[in-house]
């Protein structure tokens, strides 16, 4: 079960907004967390609490293949992103590093910044504790759920027998 405060974002949040290119010369997760949304919402990485949830519109994560984008978001403490839709490379990258994503139009429209959400990932059920409402996301495919439960693709492949899977 995931529980956290909602941080609202709009449509087409691109990877340059998530983490600008000037942070791409490093791989240290804490350093990358400092760059997360630094131009769009400069105080974001300082204010996010562990477990918090991003709620966004269409095509979240469009643009570059930089894995630094989901890595930096996860490193701030964000536990889940709910959006109307995701860009495909971002989608792969997030699951691969163990950051779950849910597609739910209703939640994206209804949730306000600061609402407290409690989410059952497996069932795709989102409870808005602030508003007393429930939303249902498109369930995560079994294959992707296995990756999340393993903690990312690296551990998933290891579990399946390593490099020879």
């Amino acid at each position: 079960m995931i529980e956290g405060r909602a941080w609202k974002f709009g449509d087409n949040i691109d990877t340059d907004l998530i983490i600008p290119a000037r942070f791409l010369n490093r791989t240290d997760k804490d350093e990358l967390a400092k760059g997360c949304f630094c131009d769009l919402r400069p105080s974001f990485s300082k204010q996010v609490k562990k477990g918090d949830i991003i709620v966004a519109g269409e095509n979240f994560g469009c643009g570059s293949s930089r894995e630094h984008a989901p890595v930096s978001i996860k490193a701030t403490g964000i536990s889940l992103i709910i959006a109307k839709s995701f860009a495909r490379i971002f989608y792969r990258n997030a699951f691969n590093i163990g950051l779950p994503l849910l597609e739910c139009r209703e939640a994206a429209d209804d949730v306000d910044e600061g609402d407290i959400l409690r989410v059952d990932l497996r069932r795709g059920e989102i409870r808005n504790l602030t508003k007393g409402k429930n939303y249902f996301a498109i369930p995560i495919p079994d294959f992707m759920m296995e990756i999340i439960e393993a903690g990312g693709l690296l551990n998933y492949v290891k579990k399946k027998g390593g490099a020879s899977y």
């Binding site: 791409l24 010369n25 269409e58 894995e67 990258n93 492949v157």
Partner: protein, 420 residues
């Protein structure tokens, strides 16, 4: 059972199946996998953590440092060194400065990609090779690290959108304008998760260079890949470069498309993507007065020799407007040399421009032309997201190389006719 598209056929062959259909998850063999100086360090970390004894095939992996080279700072230098050392340890091809250029221009030039290939790169613009009738798509570093160990990737078979272009292109209108026009029509979400098949009489007339530009920006539509049917032009291109034969595949007449879009190109003028999204596109006649501070001609989208020739044809004997900075970056050393031998570099220098070494340069705001607060640039690149080329308060307009060159002379965004 209905027919298959080129994309579906390539995915079927690489997953050892007779037939695949959209939505299926397959495990596919990778013909070529690569990463650059931004994405390789993470991928190497993943590979090492996997504990693999060796890479799956050292001849099917390459590294191309191109984003922040020549190394722009100490952190970048350390990243490239890490890749260089890893490549040496596993005898993987590493393109060193001097032979390296922008990956998506360099790899086809080197003959490393053939029609029918399945190519996976840790860079979103890996979709560029659809111009060679290959299936190619971008992934992140974890995927690439796993591929380096296993040679395989899981993929969901995408449904396809066919885009048919009809009619004859007007003067100064190129592949760049067609892809910008398509972005204008269907938006940056228009093809999320899908394959785009470019087709019609107009694309048959396009050079391979223009096809690279269009396939390159498929990702801006959200697409997984963009692909062209093979033809005589492609066979010629492949014959001159590739060491392998390649597999020439065609979509079946009864292949299924989720959508068919028809575009009449006769009335299309040069297209401009305005800040801050590649789909915020207008025709050049609708732009109004936009003063510019910087012009960039280059990148994996438009830094090929054909692009430089067009720019030079406009800049020849002219001067860049006072206060405007013109930066030209040939995408690879071979293009640089060719431009030098054809006298293009002299034309750029005489006009008051400057020429940089092959790399991604200012496209992603790394180095070699970062924008200051409030500055405006016109660029032949593929993305004009907020802050992409520098300060978040700067603005980027995207265009073809002819418009960019003309705008450098005028000091504002203009059509080439206005300066000739």
């Amino acid at each position: 059972m209905t027919g298959m598209t080129i994309t579906e056929k390539i995915l079927a062959i690489h997953s050892g199946r007779e037939y695949v259909k959209p939505g299926e998850i397959i495990e596919a063999k990778v013909d070529l996998a690569f990463a650059n100086d931004i994405t390789a360090p993470f991928a190497i970390k993943v590979f090492e953590e996997l504990g693999a004894k060796d890479v799956f095939d050292r001849n099917r992996i390459v590294f191309v440092p191109d984003h922040f080279v020549p190394n722009k700072d100490i952190d970048s230098a350390n990243q490239v060194k890490l890749i260089r050392d890893f490549a040496k340890r596993y005898s993987i091809r590493f393109f060193e400065l001097g032979e390296a250029g922008i990956e998506h221009v360099l790899l086809p030039e080197e003959g490393l990609i053939c029609p029918g290939d399945l190519v996976i790169g840790a860079d979103s613009h890996t979709c560029t090779y659809g111009a060679l009738s290959a299936f190619s798509t971008g992934v992140g570093s974890t995927d690439l690290g796993v591929i380096m160990a296993t040679g395989k990737i899981w993929l969901r078979v995408p449904s396809s959108i066919k885009v048919i272009f009809r009619g004859k292109l007007r003067r100064w209108v190129s592949g760049k304008d067609l892809i910008l026009y398509l972005l204008r029509k269907i938006s940056v979400q228009g093809a999320v998760y899908k394959a785009i098949e470019f087709s019609g009489e107009t694309v048959k007339e396009l050079s391979i260079s223009d096809r690279f530009t269009m396939a390159n920006m498929s990702v801006e539509l959200g697409a997984k890949n963009g692909i062209f049917e093979p033809d005589e032009k492609l066979r010629q291109y492949v014959k001159e470069r590739c060491k392998r034969e390649g597999v020439y595949l065609y979509s079946d007449p009864d292949a299924e498309y989720e959508k068919i879009i028809e575009i009449d190109v006769d009335e299309i003028e040069p297209q401009i993507a305005c800040p801050h999204s590649p789909d915020n596109v207008r025709g050049i006649s609708e732009i109004g007065e936009v003063r510019i501070d910087q012009v960039f001609i280059g990148s994996c989208t438009n830094g090929r020799i054909e692009d430089l020739r067009i720019a030079a044809s406009i800049l020849k004997g002219k001067k860049v407007a006072k206060g405007v900075r013109l930066i030209i970056i040939p995408s690879t050393p071979r293009i640089f040399r060719q431009a030098l031998e054809e006298g293009l570099i002299s034309i750029f220098l005489d006009a008051g421009g400057t020429v940089g070494p092959p790399c991604c340069g200012p496209c992603l705001g790394g180095h070699m032309g970062v924008l200051a607060k409030g500055e405006v640039a016109i660029s032949t690149t593929n993305r004009n997201f907020k802050g992409r080329m520098g300060d978040p308060e700067s603005k980027i307009y995207l265009s073809n190389p002819a418009v960019a060159a003309a705008s450098a002379i005028a000091g504002k965004i203009v059509s080439p006719e206005e300066v000739l």
